[in-house]
Amino acid sequence: MTTPSRYWREIPQRYRGEANSCEKCKKKFFPPRLICPKCGNRDLAKAKIADKGKVLSFTIIRVPPSPFKDQAPYAVGIVELKDGVKIMGQIVECDFKDLKVGLPVKIEFRKMFKEGHSGILCYGYKFVPDS
């Protein structure tokens, strides 16, 4: 799934939530883009994603891909952050019965999975309920 260089390239986004935004139409992009798909502007400024938002939709993965075998079942959701950015991620530390559309969540930095037998540990963002 990943190699050291490929993993390293995504670190700014996964560890620090680095994004960018269009100076013209003010839309924020995560992951960052080279051109605004809305207005064609290439003058995009560095930005960071908001750290809180709410769940738009969710599911519980019962049959996982192999790197996630030891974690199943786990919840995955699409979250709309306070700055309008929409991202996918796991929702953890939440009873499945408490999952619902509109649930307030915040971003936390977590271990994602281990790549292969002697592979690298992969980290990134997950969501936890924001009470």
Binding site: R14, S57, T59, P67, V76, M88, F113
Partner: protein, 385 residues
């Protein structure tokens, strides 16, 4: 542009074909289409295949399959838009014939999925989603469609039972299709009690892993009656559109914008509207997909698809028959082949050769073939002369 007709179709029984290789499955199927068309040669060929590289470790299959079919040195190209690769192969061939560049073109699709285990198959299918921002978080394809299902249920009150009714209807149709992988009926209870995959979707909401191919021969309409005396089935419209590959990037999670756009393009080219269609073959990779597609193609209003299925409107004898072939659910889903198998069903229906699952007086039909969680869609409209 020249008018284009489908003059030959071919498909063998789908399933776990352990005794057959990729090339054997392909050649058998393509020869059936060539024989059905009655042509003595082809000018060019297109093959839709999503991931032969991962499934059988073989790229460059366009030339491999031309060689084994005995058609080399004609030009052959493999095209890929994930699970919409088959539909794309037809669209490429359609453009080639319509433009006048070539006359007789073989359009086809194939996937040999069971040479790898379940984990690798899941991985291969997952490559149709965003590797860095979806798969990295442990989501699967059933998971992506489950996110659409939760959104649809939340917004429109679509019920778990309505989802199950899609599977029940498609299996009922598929039980009358001898080429289907799973030609048997299922009950609502069986769907609702099947193994959970990604809530709220269960295993009987999901299309299976399948080996199979499908092929068709197309040519200019004015040549169509030169070879065989089949009723002439014209391609009236072709549409294709894209959307963000990541589901999270869409404005509306359960609205398939690429299907809406591709449908609009095809309807406009054909000069037709949704209510002109006698039947639809659509991409029900999951039960929720069929519901979202019905809305995006304008069969029903947004949010009304679940109710339409529950009332039997999409049955073979309903007013908007959907997936009389059994759909991906019962017929199987060898991903690259699916788009061409849809064409095969429409042609059979319009020729009046669909047997027990025949839609009465079918004259106009539509195919909708979709890749990933809806980032690619290809739509075609067909009419019998």
């Amino acid at each position: 542009m020249r008018d284009v007709a489908v003059i030959g179709i071919g498909m063998t029984k789908w399933g776990e074909l352990w005794e057959k290789s990729l090339r054997d499955i392909y050649v058998e199927t393509a020869l059936m289409a060539i024989e059905d068309a009655g042509v003595d040669h082809i000018d060019s060929m297109y093959i839709g295949s999503m991931s032969s590289g991962i499934f059988v470790g073989q790229e460059h299959i366009a030339s491999l399959l031309a060689d084994y079919l005995g058609t080399s040195p004609v030009p052959s190209a493999r095209v890929e838009t994930a699970c919409a690769s088959g539909g794309l192969a037809l669209r490429m061939g359609f453009m080639e014939v319509a433009s006048g560049m070539n006359d007789i073109v073989l359009v086809s699709g194939i996937e040999k999925m069971t040479d790898v285990g379940g984990d690798k198959a899941t991985y291969a299918l997952g490559t149709a989603a965003d590797q860095e921002y979806e798969c990295y978080h442990g989501v699967t394809f059933p998971g992506l469609y489950a996110l659409m299902a939760v959104d649809h249920m939340n917004k429109y009150g679509t019920t778990r039972k309505q989802l199950a009714e899609v599977a029940v209807k498609n299996h009922r149709n598929g039980s009358k299709n001898p080429l289907a992988q799973f030609p048997f009926e299922v009950t609502v209870d069986a769907v609702l009690n099947s193994v959970q995959v990604a809530d709220p979707l269960r295993i009987l909401d999901c299309s299976p892993i399948t080996d199979g191919a499908a092929a068709a021969i197309i040519c200019p309409v004015d040549m169509a009656q030169k070879f065989r005396d089949h009723p002439v089935v014209k391609i009236l419209g072709s549409g294709q559109a894209t959307d963000s590959i990541a589901l999270s990037q869409r404005n509306d999670i359960s609205w398939l914008e690429s299907t809406y756009r591709a449908g609009k393009g095809a309807y406009e080219m054909a000069g037709k509207k949704p209510s002109d269609m006698d039947l639809f073959e659509v991409h029900d990779c999951f039960t929720i997909a069929e519901l979202c597609v019905m809305e995006a193609l304008g069969m029903v209003e947004k949010g009304k698809s679940g109710e339409a299925v529950e009332k039997g409107r999409t049955a073979v004898n309903g007013d908007i028959p959907v997936n009389p072939s059994g759909g991906l659910k019962s017929k199987g889903h060898p991903v690259g082949a699916t788009g061409i198998a849809q064409v095969l069903e429409i042609v059979k229906q319009l020729r009046g050769e669909a047997g027990e699952r025949q839609v009465k007086d079918a004259r106009t039909g539509l195919t909708q073939n979709m890749g990933g969680s809806g980032a690619s869609t290809v739509v075609h409209i067909f009419e019998r002369d």
